[in-house]
């Protein structure tokens, strides 16, 4: 895919965004348990500062609260303890400084892919600019030939790419991506990872990326956060914070990354030697 200086990525008007810091302070979230007066803690005491422009990957077993954390960061949900701030000010409901790529594509079924991507455009931009940006994003995610299709006429992976394009159209200060590449084949996944890095290089926004793929985390992120339950924790918290060395693109075979991979997989409960075998 030709990613060399597409106009979107070099257009000054589109690069006016600022990257914001995101800070979780003693954050907790519990949901009322069904039919009981108690409530179950999902997240507990999450404290983390993400620097402006940083890419942070969030790893953790299914159901550990990754989506919940992302939703709280975007103001789609609110914490039951602690606080979250963006750029030093508290997150507001549906905070306009964020754009979110949901775990599900969530496309409007009656709109074409282009019009779905256009939904992400920030308000107040000119129409022609908007149309250009949409066309460009649609082609960047490799869907030019399907721009006029509706979501029912495309595959799950295509829908996911459309959803990614919609989030990118917002040109946000904080980009929240919930398993954005989960439904993609290996090759498309690599392309989309490259696209994300390219967009990030041109307009360095802060990125929180939820993923199940340790290698993806190590390739994309400046830091990797491992969420999970400790020995006797009631709720999920940060188990590991791994700063990934090296500038991107990183050598997938390097010993340093292999060590980090084994460490993270260990944190996910996968045996070290098994991980080593997988690597072979």
């Amino acid at each position: 895919m030709a990613l060399t200086q597409p106009p979107l990525l070099s257009r000054s008007s589109h690069v006016t965004n600022r990257a914001f810091s995101v800070e979780f302070a003693g954050l907790g979230r519990s949901f009322p348990a069904p039919k009981k007066k108690t409530s179950t803690g999902v997240l507990g005491d999450v404290t983390l500062r993400i620097e402006p422009g940083e890419i942070v990957a969030i790893l953790g077993p299914s159901g550990c609260g990754k989506s919940t954390l992302l939703r709280i960061a975007g103001g789609l949900d609110s914490p039951t303890a602690g606080a979250v701030t963006i750029d030093g000010t508290p997150v507001t409901p549906f905070d306009a400084r964020c754009a979110i790529g949901f775990q599900e594509p969530r496309l409007l079924p009656w709109r074409t892919l282009s019009d779905n991507v256009a939904l992400g455009l920030p308000r107040g931009g000119s129409r022609t600019d908007g149309r250009e940006i949409v066309a460009e994003l649609v082609s960047l995610v490799g869907l030019s030939n399907f721009a006029g299709h509706t979501p029912r006429q495309i595959s799950g992976g295509m829908a996911q790419r459309t959803s990614l394009a919609r989030a990118l159209a917002r040109n946000p200060g904080v980009l929240l991506l919930d398993e954005p590449f989960g439904a993609l084949d290996a090759l498309t996944r690599l392309r989309m990872q490259d696209l994300l890095l390219e967009v990030h290089r041109a307009a360095p926004t802060t990125v929180l990326l939820v993923t199940h793929d340790v290698d993806e985390a190590l390739q994309l992120a400046d830091r990797v956060i491992l969420l999970g339950k400790g020995q006797d924790d009631a709720a999920n918290g940060i188990q590991q914070v791994v700063t990934v060395p090296g500038i991107r693109p990183r050598d997938r075979g390097s010993a340093e990354l292999a060590e980090l991979r084994a460490q993270l997989l260990g944190g996910l409960g996968i045996e070290r030697h098994a991980a080593g075998q997988e690597h072979l």
């Binding site: 789609l76 549906f94 949901f102 409007l108 308000r123 919609r166 917002r170």
Partner: protein, 278 residues
């Protein structure tokens, strides 16, 4: 058209039945096959009707022959009454339907979107809905005499509830994830409504409108039977009083045809809506 009309009437039912006959053709069936297939039963009924009346198997005082009905139509047309009755009845239905549908959309939207409005309004509206249509008639006559208002208000009531109920229910069940996605991308209030919620409920609105139209015809007859000096309902009650069974059949046939034709127009709209928005 008169063949169709006669046949519908011979089934002895009001437009509500004609409505259920207007299913969209099954995929794969050719258009002409659908038309011919749909005309088969009416043609058969007409033939049987003609046969039993011509052979005297049924007395014409109980069942007028097709020709007698036709002559009644010609007679009324020559006196200028046929067109007048059809026009005034259609006008009442259209006006009442439009007002009722608009109010139903507005209140259905408010109740469907706002939990507060739901708590405040839904029980009252539900109670009003439970009042049988005829119960309104004496009150409306007292308040508005025998003028147009009383009939149009009754039809408005009839058209209001199907739209109100379907719109409110559909809005409550719009995919929450889509609404949340809309909000996450900065859509609120009216913009959110027109971007996400309204498009999502358009197919339900279309079927609500069809129900409302059928109700409008139903309430029209209720209103005109009791308090009117013109219109198809008046033709029915007047002919009943004078023993003009041929005119009763004529009025029934006309109601069937009008109900079916107006419903078909909305059916086209519904089909488009489902194709475009569902």
């Amino acid at each position: 058209m008169s063949v169709d009309a006669t046949a519908y009437a011979a089934t002895g039912n009001a437009p509500a039945v004609a409505v259920t006959l207007s299913r969209a053709p099954r995929p794969g069936s050719r258009r002409w096959a659908v038309v011919i297939g749909g005309a088969l039963l009416p043609a058969l009924i007409l033939a049987v009707w003609q046969f039993v009346t011509a052979t005297g198997a049924v007395a014409t005082s109980q069942l007028p022959s097709p020709q007698m009905v036709w002559e009644a139509a010609v007679d009324l047309a020559q006196r200028g009454l046929l067109w007048q009755y059809v026009a005034i009845s259609t006008q009442r239905v259209v006006i009442g339907f439009l007002i009722g549908a608009a109010l139903g959309l507005a209140l259905g939207a408010v109740v469907g979107l706002s939990r507060f409005a739901d708590i405040l309004l839904a029980p009252t509206l539900g109670a009003i809905r439970a009042v049988p249509s005829l119960a309104w008639v004496p009150l409306l006559i007292l308040w508005f005499k025998i003028g147009e208002e009383s009939k149009i208000i009754l039809i408005t009531i009839g058209a209001f509830f199907p739209v109100y109920t379907t719109v409110a229910a559909a809005l409550r069940h719009v995919d929450r994830q889509l609404v949340e996605a809309g909000r996450a991308f900065g859509y609120r209030g009216a913009r959110l409504f027109f971007t996400v919620q309204l498009p999502a409920v358009i197919p339900s609105v279309a079927s609500g409108l069809r129900l409302a139209l059928a109700q409008a015809w139903l309430f029209l007859v209720a209103a005109e039977l009791i308090a009117a000096s013109m219109g198809l309902g008046f033709l029915l009650s007047d002919s009943g009083n004078n023993g003009r069974i041929d005119r009763i059949f004529l009025a029934i046939i006309l109601l069937a045809v009008l109900g079916k034709v107006t419903d078909s127009i909305l059916a086209l709209f519904e089909r488009w809506a489902v194709k475009k928005w569902a």
